[in-house]
Symmetry: C2
Subunit: 404 residues, 2 copies
Amino acid sequence: MYKINENYLKLPGSYLFSTIGKKVTAYTAAHPEKSIIRLGIGDVTQPLAPAIIEAMHSAVDEMGSAETFRGYAPDLGYEFLRNAIAEGDYRLRGADIKADEIFVSDGAKCDSGNIQEIFSTDNRIAVCDPVYPVYVDTNVMAGRTGTYDPATEMWSDIIYMPCLAENGFAPELPKETPDLIYLCFPNNPTGSAVTKAQLQIWVDYANRTGAVIIYDAAYEAYISEENVPHTIYECEGARSCAIELKSFSKNAGFTGVRLGYTVIPKDLKCGDISLHALWARRHGTKYNGAPYIIQRAGEAVYSDAGKAQLKKQIAYYMKNAKTIREGLETAGYTVSGGVNAPYIWLKTPENMTSWEFFDYLLERAGVVGTPGSGFGPSGEGYFRLTAFGSYENTLAALERIKQI
Amino acid sequence: MYKINENYLKLPGSYLFSTIGKKVTAYTAAHPEKSIIRLGIGDVTQPLAPAIIEAMHSAVDEMGSAETFRGYAPDLGYEFLRNAIAEGDYRLRGADIKADEIFVSDGAKCDSGNIQEIFSTDNRIAVCDPVYPVYVDTNVMAGRTGTYDPATEMWSDIIYMPCLAENGFAPELPKETPDLIYLCFPNNPTGSAVTKAQLQIWVDYANRTGAVIIYDAAYEAYISEENVPHTIYECEGARSCAIELKSFSKNAGFTGVRLGYTVIPKDLKCGDISLHALWARRHGTKYNGAPYIIQRAGEAVYSDAGKAQLKKQIAYYMKNAKTIREGLETAGYTVSGGVNAPYIWLKTPENMTSWEFFDYLLERAGVVGTPGSGFGPSGEGYFRLTAFGSYENTLAALERIKQI
């Protein structure tokens, strides 16, 4: 008789955003007359930029003609896209990453969930708290997290790095030494960023202790301040300790298009074993490449027209972020984020729990956000709003919140 | 200090098709004057059908307009596609599968590699021999296969089910009882098929012994004979023991488009644990859906125009299969397959090994095929050719082979 992976049974409840979705569906079913504004899940709303649409139409036509049809993509992604990434995201920033160190994928969620597979199950992971749930849940599934304590909402074998108002929502070096360190800056969910000097401390720490940093830079495009690094490879020594994950979801509105990439420098080795080779083996064995049409869409992100159009799109969302931040402050909330990231992190008023505030905001203002506690125990008492709505909805949401 | 997943180091050599690719690249570099015909990897060559191209253009336009833009897809796939699959691939065949038992993905390679994750690592797997390498390699990575013996090219903890000329390339029930049974019919690589009565024996066996069948039906569209089942759910009792994997790669030419799906009936349970729920949790946590544009392309496969156009495409490839089969027979080879599958499986002449024949065919005829031994020890002495080339190339390849 077959047996299942028992680790799955340890997972408490369902995936955060599924839970929110179900709660909202139930509420709208009960109150069909209420208009709901969704500033919860980090899903974009602006249409794809014209340069991207054009590139996709052209690629679709290629797929319809025998002379230009493309079958299986190269395992690690098409050269045209990997070259564009190496140039646009690395060389132009002075970071030394070659095209053949870039692995194109269908998104950073998949990559951030799958990357742990190339590591031993007895590695100890460290995560920021609060944190993007995928890092934790996928390690639970792999059996790397020990037992769950419902009272503290913590796993026995995870090293938690609290990110609170007290430390400016920037993690401190952990007291116990981890093997794998998940970092995400600009941060989801807190919207905080770290300076290059702060990130350098982590790179040095990882190199000193023999840890690997899994660096999620999905929100890099929202950085507005000068001293905030756009890639971990701006830091010295990162090539020997860091894996970087990037998404096209937020910089180019690809949440429904699906494209991302992972960088593993060839200097990153465990003894004489190259992590690049392990990930290449995984890609070749379990993955068949991102669609040709989508890779052409990704290439258009780096074209002059694409860059200009996307700059406007980012500015649009960051205007929303400013609207939310300033609106909440006017309404008397304590807020952070929204300067280098599309997320605003607010302290719930009057000691409400995160889920109490979720219900309060849904019922009183018809606004959906994300409870901070869904991102980890140190998120309790906080709440996330995203800048990805339309400007009109964002304005309307803030008007409603001010009037509660 | 972090540690890697040591299971990766057990994998002998690189992924089969990467090895072939490198060999061909080296050969063409050394012999730039030689024209090479590739009948190796199962990659299609015909352009996408007009109905599919039209659907994609329309979906691209939707993504470029604020009113019709789509962000994150529903976790398990869009209703429009799941409904089309449930109707076209199941209800019309008299198989009882509901739309909410279908999980849309970016391809059957990923699904066939990932599905093992929801099972315990101490489950015992059984595979046909020869077999699609992904089933074995992904179980090696998960640590489920024991040790590798280079002499026999077998893993200590895998149950091999030899498929040889002697048993018509159909596996026999294994002597040891497995927990997970990988079956693929029509078969890759041998091109063989089983009748509904033969498959029923496997379903009954799995239900009796408490095993799960992972049924890969990627080549279903190539079935030409009446008594060959198009889905395992044509067999009685399959809902309580079988997971089915399907690909759009071969029936609609989507190798570069990337779309597939997995069926897990809600009756499939381990005690009171639903495998459907486990896979839904994995999808929700590690995956973000197939691109909207690609899901619309998938829907077009089931439209009247799409079905008519794809029927012609399949017929085109099956004409190639006939050309190969009959050409090889004329040249004195012993062949099978090619009737219900796009693969032709031939016995190498004069006791050549599979790789010897690979080199012989490449050097003497400029034709690339796949060595049978790359699919498992019982593939030694066999060789796979695919019907996915152009008709002109297929004809030319057979002329060359006849002239050796």
